[in-house]
């Protein structure tokens, strides 16, 4: 069978010593930054992008993926033990996880979340395997106009599902597209917005932009907020959950996995949305909803499973269609481009070892994470005692060195400074950085497809409405936008994000 052959190929790639090593490194780094509040996977992956330049493509993607899902595991540790979300997706885990810990069940909460995450991760990986091939087949039938519409849908959906004002987020997407134009025009060789700076003629590298927008701006905001650690750390205690806890956790994990996997595939979905929705679902169907917020096992198990499942399935649109669904996936696309791989349906056909190797390594990585997280929990807890005033300069320093090593030029370090200031302005004005990054990454491709489609249709924009695939995608895009404008949906959406903030 094809599927099994592919999986075997993937396993054989993933199990080589080098790839195992980088999966381990990725998982360790991911757990580390997941545990530490104040630095997320986006900033970390941006920081490490330049280093991946020195690695083979498969190893570098395996490592970056490990950071992403490792952060989902690590984040729960901090949430449960110190009531601080180490990572955005584990905000909900704080609610019941910390309460469980206060009742002396910290160990149980940790092991339920780790095992639940592992189960969800496994299911997520299987879903990727099942969906990758049919989706890729479908994508190969796409023409330029269809691709352009698909990207439009992806961008709009990403915006709609993200929190905050929709129109501002759309404007941020266009701003990202505009920044993506900087550099040499592919068709004519003309210099666009380069201001006669030779370094800009290749376009703006997105690693410095992501570092500035997500790393530097975040550090500055944290420094302003005067980052205090609340309360002392709690003793972990026995890792074994009681039979009663297991009985309640299993169905919650199953529901969380299903919901998380489904939401992860959506553009703009991903772990945070999955975790919040599954927590709400558990609360709604529970027989005694009053227990939530006071240490309900379901309130830990379901969101943890959901965020991990979503972290896995959010790879699907990126791997098969080349469309990133969130900021982390945008950076993964960046990592592929650095390695000279154009993301899209071609990857699976032309580089099967990379494609299947990466998927297989995700499952192995999930297994590693259970081992990293449970027996070694004491080490991660110790890390939490490092104050932020030591971390902030260190993160800054790594960003600077990372930016320099991109092309051994201090020009990129200056870019980090510029985009740090810009990112700070965005934060102050309540504009989200993620839509900007998505626009930036998709910009050049989208222009390319747009121009090609218009050339093929002899300048008739109706081509976007005449091709059935493109028309369907555009109708979906329009429907999403109209839906958002409806007062009832608008209100529900605002309420959903209120809970988050």
């Amino acid at each position: 069978m094809d599927l099994l052959n592919n999986l075997m190929l993937g396993l054989s790639v993933a199990i080589s010593f080098q790839n195992l090593f980088y999966a381990l490194v990725g998982c360790m780094v991911g757990t580390l930054i997941g545990v530490l509040p104040g630095i997320g996977p986006v900033a970390t992956i941006a920081m490490l992008l330049p280093i991946t330049f020195h690695l083979p493509p498969t190893a570098s993607l395996i490592m970056l993926a490990g950071i992403y899902y490792g952060a989902q595991y690590g984040g729960s540790t901090t949430s449960i033990l110190v009531n601080l979300p180490g990572e955005a997706a584990s905000v909900v885990t704080c609610l019941d996880g910390y309460q469980m810990a206060r009742r002396g069940r910290a160990g149980a909460a940790l092991s339920i979340s780790a095992v639940g995450s592992f189960f969800a991760g496994t299911v997520g990986t299987i879903i990727i395997v099942l969906f990758a091939e049919p989706l890729t087949r479908m994508a190969q039938k796409f023409g330029p106009a269809d691709y352009c519409s698909l990207m439009a849908l992806g961008l709009v959906a990403a915006v709609v599902l993200a929190s905050g004002s929709v129109i501002k987020a759309i404007a941020m997407v266009f701003l990202g597209l505009l920044f993506g134009l900087v550099g040499t025009d592919v068709n004519t060789g003309a210099q666009r917005f380069t201001f006669d700076i030779p370094e800009l003629s290749d376009g703006i590298d997105f690693a410095p932009i992501a570092m500035g927008l997500f790393g530097i701006a975040e550090i500055v905001v944290n420094l302003e907020r005067h980052f205090a650690r609340s309360g002392g750390t709690i003793k972990v205690g026995s890792l074994w959950p009681t039979r009663e806890e297991i009985r309640r956790a299993i169905p919650a994990v199953l529901r969380g996995t299903v919901l998380g996997s489904a939401l992860g595939v959506l553009p703009g979905g991903g772990p945070t949305l999955g975790a919040f929705s599954s927590y709400t679902l558990e609360k709604k169907i529970s027989k005694n909803p009053g227990e939530f917020g006071k240490g309900a096992v379901e309130g830990v198990a379901a969101p943890e499973a959901a965020n991990n499942a979503a972290a896995q399935t959010s790879f699907i649109p990126m791997l098969t269609l080349g469309i990133p669904s969130n900021a982390v996936m945008a950076l993964m696309v960046g990592a592929m481009i650095i390695q000279g791989i154009q993301p899209g349906p071609e990857v699976m056909v032309k580089k099967p070892d990379l494609f299947w190797g990466m998927i297989a390594s995700m499952w192995i990585g999930n297994l590693m994470l259970v081992i990293i997280n449970l027996p070694m929990i004491g080490m991660w807890v110790k890390l939490l005692t490092v104050p932020y005033r030591f971390l902030a300069p260190a993160i800054l320093l790594f960003c600077c060195i990372g930016a320099y090593s991109l092309q051994n030029s201090t020009f990129h370090v200056m870019q980090v400074a510029v985009f740090g200031v810009l990112g700070y302005i965005f934060v102050r004005l309540g504009c989200e950085g993620a839509p900007f990054l998505l626009g930036l990454v998709l910009g050049p491709q989208m222009e390319e497809y747009f121009r090609r489609a218009m050339l093929l249709s002899r300048g008739d924009p109706m081509v976007f409405l005449e091709r059935p695939i493109s028309l369907g995608l555009l109708i979906a895009t329009a429907a999403l936008l109209v839906l958002m404008a409806l007062p009832s949906v608008k209100k529900a959406r605002e309420e959903a994000f209120q809970e988050e903030g």
Binding site: F193, A392, M414, R451
Partner: protein
């Protein structure tokens, strides 16, 4: 004026500014035709979209806060003016439109290739300018922003940016460690607590760590202290 400076208003103005900037710096790029697009076609299109979206954000924010009197006094005249200008610009003169006759050579090409985006975005932008000018001169009674911008704290952002810039300037001239010392020192100053011994300890740890990881581990071609190693 500062009473109605909200986040939405300022971000709208920021988008308008980016749109203007892109138009200004991209004006030399050839537009081409929809069939064979020049390097300037997509940039112009995006600039118009930026201008329109920014203007809509600003107008929506102003409108949300406006009271009855303001709507009658400012909004209705400005709105009528804009619609009139839109119709007027499409009046034919010979084989051409009035707008084409009035526009300078630079904008004429844009108007011919992208009529509607050009007209919509420029009219929206003019409406924003007119309304803001009216409000600035005549004032708006009893309106306050519903999401005021917090006053920025200048210390962290300035020191962090200064640290990165210093690092960039020093790194190739003096090597890693001196640049690192300056960066860590400035960044630590930006925080709440500053204890010299702690910062020094941090500098020592980071110097050793970076040397081991980047120079020895990854074998990067960087000098630790220029002229020595």
């Amino acid at each position: 004026m500062s009473r109605f400076l909200s986040k939405d208003l300022l971000s709208g103005l920021m988008f308008i500014a980016f749109g203007m900037g892109a138009l200004y710096f991209g004006q030399k790029l050839a537009l081409g035709t929809p069939v064979r697009m020049g390097p300037g076609y997509v940039p112009h299109m995006l600039s118009f979209i930026m201008l329109s979206l920014g203007s809509i954000i600003v107008l929506a924010t102003l409108f949300r806060q406006a009271d009855q009197r303001e709507k009658q006094r400012y909004w209705i005249p400005v709105g009528i003016l804009m619609v009139a200008a839109f119709i007027f610009s499409y009046l034919p003169v010979g084989n051409d439109f009035i707008a084409t006759k009035l526009l300078s050579t630079g904008s004429q090409a844009t108007f011919k290739t992208m009529k509607t985006p050009f007209m919509v975005s420029s009219l929206l932008t003019i409406a924003v300018v007119l309304l803001l000018a009216l409000i600035a001169v005549l004032g708006r009674p009893g309106v306050t922003a519903d999401d005021p911008v917090e006053a920025p704290k200048w210390k962290p952002i300035t020191l962090v940016t200064a640290g990165i810039v210093c690092f960039a300037l020093l790194f190739e001239r003096t090597g890693l460690v001196p640049a690192l010392v300056v960066l860590v020192f400035l960044a630590s100053l930006g925080g709440e607590e500053f204890k010299l011994t702690e910062v020094l300890a941090n500098i020592v740890v980071l110097s050793v760590l970076c040397t081991v990881v980047f120079k020895i581990g990854l074998g990067m071609n960087i000098s630790i202290v220029n002229g020595i190693w």
